[in-house]
């Protein structure tokens, strides 16, 4: 009877094999000959740590300008404070994407740049004089709250200054302002110290492709940052998510009107991380080199070439916009829409193709139970 069995098996085999033939492209090699540690070292020493140190310096300056302002409440010191705020906010856009390790420990991103701001919450806290920025579910703080306190609490500079001087709540305004800055400073200091002490080496040595490995952290956090640019900075205000009804009040930095400028820095920062382009503009080892080493192709060209070209297109589409974005979403809707579309086009390259060819799973989507 064995021959019958073999006959049956052969029939089934032929059924299966003819059907399962793979007509598509070849999968890539998950284990390329690439010095991951050298890339991590370069990213830590020439991108992440210098950018954080830069931010730390700007936040320290912001803090001293705030002292200066509270000592001499006038238009000049307000202007100085605003400039320091804008510069710190700009540098923040460069490090926002490194939301892992020490930054994750202090929930840096959701603490310093959660927008849009709920001004009702801020006003109530100023009114009562009670606030605690350490509570886990306080989101209305950080740079967006400063945006409001420095630009939004009055229709012009003299009305704003009035809040800090003759207003019955002036003391509360001043305390709130300095506490907001102190909260940012504490968290940034913690992050910088973490990187400068032990995390840098841990990051460099954390090889492999498992969840939690440095490569996985880089790819996942770059993607989250990129998605936030797409959705929060451009998508929500432009109305693409709300049937074309625009939301001008939901732009980043609504009161100062610096949204486009900040978004540009954030997008270029994502490109820099991808390329391994350091704070000193030297282009070292990055994900682009890894993708080239793997030899990943998409639609007949190198995946890396597609990503780089789309970064360039997206950045120039974003550069075509002018602040304030809250006006542009209504008055220059086509340009905003185009910027959104060009930014979006790279998402599939970065979030689906890159992890797939590098054999890294997107870990912020995890199976809650078993798999099989």
């Amino acid at each position: 009877m064995n021959k019958y069995f073999l006959l049956g098996l052969a029939t089934l085999l032929s059924f299966a094999s003819c059907k399962m033939d793979d007509g598509g492209s070849m999968p890539n090699d998950c284990s390329p000959n690439f010095d991951h540690q050298a890339m991590f070292r370069h990213m830590a020493d020439n991108l992440i740590i210098p950018n954080y140190q830069d931010l730390q310096g700007r936040v320290t300056l912001l803090s001293s300008r705030a002292d200066n302002f509270t000592n001499q409440l006038n238009g000049e010191s307000l202007h100085g404070l605003r400039m320091a705020w804008l510069e710190a906010y700009g540098v923040w856009q460069r490090v926002a994407q490194y939301e892992f390790g020490p930054a994750e420990e202090v929930l840096l991103r959701s603490s310093v740049n959660n927008f849009p701001l709920d001004t009702a919450v801020v006003n109530a806290q100023i009114q009562s004089g009670n606030h605690d920025f350490d509570l886990p579910d306080t989101y209305d703080k950080g740079f967006p709250a400063l945006d409001y306190l420095l630009y939004g609490i009055g229709e012009n500079d003299s009305v704003i200054l009035e809040k800090y001087t003759t207003n019955p709540l002036a003391a509360n305004y001043i305390t709130y302002l300095t506490d907001l800055i102190a909260d940012i400073k504490t968290r940034v200091d913690h992050t910088v110290t973490g990187w400068e002490s032990t995390y840098r080496d841990a990051f460099v040595q954390n090889t492999g492709i498992a969840a939690g490995s440095s490569l996985s952290l880089i790819i996942n956090n770059l993607n989250q940052h990129y998605e936030l640019i797409k959705r929060e900075k451009l998508g929500v205000p432009s109305g693409v998510l709300t049937l074309g009804f625009t939301n001008p009040d939901k732009v980043e930095a609504f009161y100062s009107g610096e949204s486009v400028r900040l978004a540009q820095v954030a997008l270029i920062a994502a490109e820099s991380w991808y390329l391994g382009r350091g704070a000193n503009s030297v282009n070292g080892l990055g994900l682009d080199d890894l993708l080239v080493e793997v030899g990943a192709m998409k639609d007949g060209q190198l995946l890396d070439a597609a990503i780089q070209a789309q970064f360039t297109t997206a950045i120039s589409a974003l550069n075509a916009l002018q602040d304030p974005l809250s006006d542009a979403v209504d008055n220059n809707a086509t340009a905003v829409q185009s910027a959104y579309n060009e930014v979006t086009k790279n998402l599939v390259n970065l979030k689906t193709d890159m992890p797939s060819v590098l054999c890294v799973s997107i870990t912020y989507i995890d199976n809650p139970s078993d798999s099989d």
Partner: protein
């Protein structure tokens, strides 16, 4: 050898495979329609066939069934308790507001969280009762119904081993696994039996054989054999495992594991049927499944297989163990010596043969659909495709008001959990269901009449770059789900 005239192995299960699945139709066709055989050969053939049928009713020691009942019941009970204590009820049924369904059972409604706790409580309780053999006939029905219902709640959570548990539960309803070493047999001595018809054991052996064989056949594809995919992605994630982990950094290991895995699945059930190879095969079962347990987050599956395959061992082996554990089994000795089938239950083997035939053929249904099943996922489920693909998907949905032309991109996370979104983005029937949900939602909440729902879906399969899965211009809202091939799919070639 009791079944030497019919079977070709020592469990007797081969008699089914050859007789019912393959040789039966051949013989009938050859002997009765071609008429190129002598009268003697014809008679002989009928005789042989009848002897096969008789063989499956021949008495066998009941104890393999007892082992199966106790271990399966115990495992399912632990599984249900684990599900509750891990907080999976909140995660999988509390968090989502929308649930994906299997085609044909869309009517299944999801009860409240408390209701689901009751449901899983009933699963645990009935499984426990199956284990100890208390009110067995009722409890097997309760177990099968509650467990199956739980699996139908959200198709997102489909797992092959849940499907296997459903099937095994269904078999248990009809198997006399409570007639010894059970509370029932203690309470009602009348039902005690020392032996059962051979088919009651063989049917489980055959089901497991089918599972392994299909799992093995499904591995015979280019990605698995020649690119070690997806193991080449999954193994290097485990380089932190002591000793073994060291080898996972080498691509060769993934190839080795892929080929061994395919060979194991294709052969192990058959090697378990022979006395000579049985112990080695079982050792392979234990090692293989413990290894998968170590490497992958697959929950109960390794234990289901390690426990279930004990059914391949002959009655004497089981009896020895049970005698040691619970004594000679006085209750069994008193039992009636005639295990023959009651009138009316003789049709069971025929029904079971039909079901087994279905189990044999159903996994093959993907040949009826155009394109590669790993890509289209048409006919993918219920076919023992275990750990076969690594897929990353990204699905962006758009809803448009046909009257005003206003268009909106959808934020999937407003309606789906991250896990549901991940599953939806790679499975066409889920994409369709979700599109219908969106159409309905925008109709109700935004008062858009007949909204147009389109989706741009990119999927990357087994370490490749992505491709479009569906036609982004198709209005999914007006497409009905069905068993016909989905023509909005973009084929992979």
């Amino acid at each position: 050898m009791i079944n030497k005239r019919c079977g070709w192995d020592e469990t007797g299960a081969g008699g089914w495979i050859v007789g019912l699945a393959l040789v039966g139709p051949f013989r009938f066709f050859g002997y009765f329609f071609l008429k190129k055989v002598t009268q003697y050969e014809k008679k002989n053939a009928i005789k042989k066939f009848v002897s096969c049928i008789q063989m499956i009713a021949s008495p066998k020691d009941i104890t393999p069934l007892i082992t199966f009942r106790v271990l399966f019941g115990g495992l399912m009970m632990v599984g249900a308790l684990r599900f509750m204590t891990n907080g999976w009820i909140e995660k999988l049924y509390g968090e989502p507001s929308f649930f994906f369904k299997f085609y044909g059972v869309e009517w299944v409604t999801v009860p409240s969280e408390i209701g689901i706790y009751w449901l899983y409580g009933a699963i645990a309780l009935s499984a426990g009762c199956i284990m100890i053999g208390f009110l067995y006939r009722i409890m097997t029905v309760v177990f099968f119904l509650t467990f199956t219902y739980a699996e139908l709640l959200d198709a997102t959570n489909y797992l092959n081993h849940y499907y296997l548990a459903c099937i095994l539960g269904l078999y248990l309803i009809f198997l006399p696994a409570h007639r010894a070493y059970s509370i029932d047999a203690h309470l009602w001595p009348k039902i005690r039996r020392a032996t059962v018809p051979a088919w009651t054991i063989q049917v489980l052996i055959l089901q497991l054989t089918l599972v392994y064989t299909w799992a093995g056949l499904n591995k015979l594809n280019g990605d698995w054999l020649f690119h070690a995919m997806p193991l080449a992605v999954w193994l290097p994630e485990h380089t932190d495992i002591p000793i073994l982990g060291y080898f996972f950094q080498f691509p060769e290991t993934a190839y080795l594991f892929s080929w061994i895995g395919a060979f194991y699945d294709l052969t192990v059930a058959y090697l378990l049927m022979y006395k000579k190879t049985r112990m080695w095969a079982y050792a392979a079962v234990v090692v293989f499944h413990l290894l998968t347990n170590l490497l992958f987050n697959i929950g109960l599956f390794p234990w289901i297989m390690i426990f279930s395959t004990l059914i391949f061992f002959p009655g004497e082996a089981h009896r020895k163990v049970w005698a040691k554990l619970l004594g000679a089994g006085a209750q069994v000795q008193k039992s009636s010596p005639t295990p023959s089938l009651k009138k009316g239950s003789q049709g069971f083997p025929v029904v079971l043969a039909g079901f087994l035939l279905f189990q044999l053929l159903f996994p093959l249904r993907h040949v009826l659909y155009p394109g590669n099943v790993l890509w289209t996922e048409e006919g993918y489920r219920f076919a023992w495709r275990v750990m076969l693909v690594e897929k990353v998907g990204q699905a962006t949905f758009y809803v448009q008001d046909p009257d005003t032309g206003r268009k909106s991109e959808v934020i999937n996370s407003h309606y789906l959990t991250t896990f549901q979104e991940k599953q939806m983005a790679i499975q066409p029937d889920f994409i369709l269901q979700y599109a219908h949900f969106l159409a309905d939602f925008y109709q109700r909440k935004h008062h858009i009449h007949n909204p147009i729902v389109t989706a741009d879906v990119f999927v990357a399969l087994n370490g490749r770059t992505s491709r479009r899965l569906i036609d982004p211009s198709v209005n999914l809202a007006v497409i009905k789900d069905g068993l016909w091939p989905k023509d909005f799919l973009i084929k992979y070639d």
